[in-house]
């Protein structure tokens, strides 16, 4: 073997150039340090700016909502002197207790009497038209509460008509504003409890949120009862049992796609399948819940799979090595550790379902429903749909109702998140 065959080591320039020690105090080095600090500062400021902007947006939204919405929880009342002594009604108190009382008082012409009293007292300002259509119901309830009112004159603050109410809150028509100015001290304010107990109405002064709230509650119950078990079980099966092959890959891709499908498509699906094929009742929370469950399930599956995947494999090994069966590994170790993540995913899915309007419109939950639903198959509407419907109303009284309903929806959401956070913390400390 000749020397030429031995490969020559490449001569590196580093070896030739004399080695100079790094000058850590050189001008260039100091400039680099300065630049590094600037970049650091800039990045921090950007992050802080982003946080401030998002917090400001949130605060703005909340403040505007509350400023507009609180009036929905307040009603204007008109003080009305009443004398019902000539009302043709047997005054036996027991007749005014039971279920016959409403009918007895209505039959005795209470509504007319109230209207007449209003006409007498405020003839110049508009008379009975000042009062809300439901005002006489307040009188009725007052009499039921205290039948002795029938024996002597008394005064009662009754809710005014929507136009007057809006005017009193400073946003009415000129005519209504004049009436308010004339009524002056006869008007007062009070909490609109009817808003929390009533259902939808064509009269803004009588419209309440309870019907929609109950509809939403029932719908959410159906959604949770279906989407949570199915979603979590699918996630467990896919993560722990399913073999990795083309079929499961396809399922995984499909679930991811399903989570991204626009919600109105689920509405169409619900319309075609639940109403068209299965002939389930239209506008019912049952159908709404089923449709929203279809939409929520993929979200729960994805979140649960991620949470299950995040459980360290060493815990699985440990359980298997002491002889736990696969189901014991899952139920004793994997699920408790994945529970916080699963719950978070579920609540995100449920919150999205709660705020969803489009699919519910498709299955008929946009109908005008004047009574709260009694069960899962009764006609009902849901909070976001109610907001949508009210926002579409011409009558000005519905503007504040819309804002108030949004506040109710937000409170519902916050309550749901609160429950989720509570559960999550419980599971986290209770390993």
């Amino acid at each position: 073997m000749t020397e030429t065959l031995v490969p020559q080591a490449p001569v590196s320039t580093a070896e030739i150039a004399p080695h100079r020690p790094t000058d850590w105090r050189s001008h260039a080095m100091e400039r680099r340090i300065r630049r590094r600090y600037t970049a650091e500062r800039r990045f921090r400021l950007l992050g802080l700016g982003a946080v401030v902007v998002s917090a400001a947006c949130l605060a703005f939204l909340l403040i505007v909502m509350i400023a507009q919405g609180y009036q929905g929880f307040v009603e204007t009342r008109l003080t009305l002197p009443l004398d019902l002594r000539d009302l043709r009604l047997e005054r036996s108190p027991e007749r005014l207790k039971g279920p016959g009382a409403d009918l007895a008082l209505a039959g005795a012409g209470l509504e007319r009497a109230v209207d007449a009293a209003a006409n007498r007292a405020y003839e110049a300002e508009g008379g009975a038209a000042l009062l809300s259509d439901g005002a006489w119901l307040r009188v009725r309830d007052a009499i039921k509460h205290d039948p002795r009112l029938l024996t002597h004159p008394f005064t009662l603050a009754l809710p005014v008509a929507s136009a007057i109410d809006v005017a009193a809150k400073g946003n009415g028509t000129p005519a209504a504003e004049r009436s308010v100015a004339k009524l002056g001290a006869h008007l007062s304010c009070g909490a609109a409890w009817d808003f929390f107990t009533g259902a939808d109405s064509t009269d803004a002064a009588r419209a309440g949120i309870w019907g929609a709230l109950k509809g939403s509650l029932l719908t959410m119950v159906v959604t949770l009862a279906l989407a949570f078990p199915v979603g979590v079980l699918s996630a467990i099966y896919l993560e722990e049992y399913a073999p990795r092959n083309r079929a499961t890959d396809f399922i995984e891709v499909s679930i991811n796609n399903l989570a991204a499908v626009p919600s109105i498509v689920f509405g169409l699906l619900g319309l075609a399948v639940f109403l068209g094929t299965l002939h389930l009742p239209r506008s019912a929370p049952l159908v709404g819940g089923l449709t929203l469950a279809l939409m929520t399930m993929p979200v729960i599956v994805i979140a649960s799979r991620n949470a299950i995947r995040a459980v360290p494999p060493s815990i699985r090994d440990a359980a298997l090595a002491v002889g736990a069966s696969p189901i014991q590994v899952v139920s004793h170790h994997v699920l408790p550790l994945a529970a916080p993540g699963i719950l978070t995913g579920t609540i995100i899915g449920m919150a999205r379902a709660l705020g969803e309007t489009a699919p519910l419109l498709m299955i008929g939950m946009r109908a005008f429903i004047a009574a709260p639903p009694a069960g899962f198959t009764d006609s009902a509407t849901a909070l976001p749909v109610q907001i949508f419907l009210w926002s579409d109303q011409v009558s000005r009284g519905f503007v504040e109702k819309t804002s108030a309903a949004i506040l109710v929806l937000l409170v519902f959401l916050v309550a749901m998140n609160g429950v989720a956070i509570f559960l999550r913390n419980r599971f986290e400390t209770r390993w």
């Binding site: 090994d317 440990a318 359980a319 002491v322 002889g323």
Partner: protein
């Protein structure tokens, strides 16, 4: 060497992960009264082989085991073998301490509970105390059994894992580099513990540390590139290896 029949016998075992042939034609007998050490450079397949002794490789979908592995003469890969029971009979301690995120008591009591080894709370308490005592941990934790197992130090966690393994009263305990994540003091405790447990359970330990193999084991198997190069009494392997490669490895020439 003893004259008793071997506790576990493996003959002509091959293990592959997909196309990767990790173990080729390995035959080893494990005896109840001995500690058997598997040594060899990283990636030589000793952990893979260990995991095939209690079928932990089953959890890896691509793993394929062929050959014959028997526990007391029973084929552990046979159809009628219940893998859950097998893993209770052949316990395992892992490289990184992996206590359950539960209390110390729960960690040890878990195995007996799922196998129904205790009829009453009192009996379970006794099993927990006995296991922790055997694992040399009882005196350190007896006043705080409800503390989380994860709050213990690394060495204590590993002894807790050993206590968890022996709580189900296994016949064989497999240890996969049980000291590699521990400091020398904790390592010494574990080695002492292995010494104490010897005879009660057949113990197989995988280790990178040749001094450890020499200290704790009676029999040593040297693996290289998926093959069993040499297997025999520890004293012979370390003083008088028959194979050149074994000699090179234990004298530190490679590996």
């Amino acid at each position: 060497m003893s004259n008793n029949p071997p506790k576990m016998t493996a003959s002509h075992v091959d293990v592959s992960y997909g196309t990767n042939h990790a173990i080729r034609d390995v035959s080893i007998d494990v005896y109840r009264e001995d500690v058997t050490a598997f040594i060899g450079p990283s990636g030589c397949g000793k952990s893979t082989f260990l995991r095939s002794l209690n079928r932990m490789n089953d959890t890896i979908p691509t793993a394929r085991v062929s050959g014959d592995i028997r526990l007391d003469g029973e084929d552990i890969y046979a159809r009628e073998m219940d893998v859950v029971q097998l893993r209770a009979r052949v316990g395992m301690v892992f490289q990184k301490p992996n206590p359950f995120p539960k209390s110390i008591y729960e960690n040890v009591a878990y195995g007996p509970k799922i196998h129904g080894l205790a009829q009453s709370k009192g009996e379970l308490d006794r099993i927990v105390e006995r296991s922790l005592t055997r694992a040399g941990l009882w005196n350190e934790v007896k006043d705080r059994l409800s503390d989380p197992g994860t709050a213990l130090s690394g060495g204590q966690q590993q002894r807790l894992c050993i206590a968890r393994a022996i709580a189900v009263d296994p016949e064989v305990i497999l240890m996969d580099e049980p000291c590699s994540a521990l400091d020398p003091v904790a390592t010494a405790r574990i080695e002492e513990l292995i010494h104490d447990l010897r005879g009660r359970y057949a113990i197989v330990i995988v280790t990178h540390n040749m001094q450890q193999a020499a200290r704790v084991s009676q029999r040593t198997a040297f693996f290289h590139l998926g093959q069993l190069i040499e297997y025999g009494d520890t004293s012979d392997i370390f003083t008088n290896p028959r194979q050149e490669r074994t000699k090179d490895y234990i004298t530190g020439r490679y590996g």
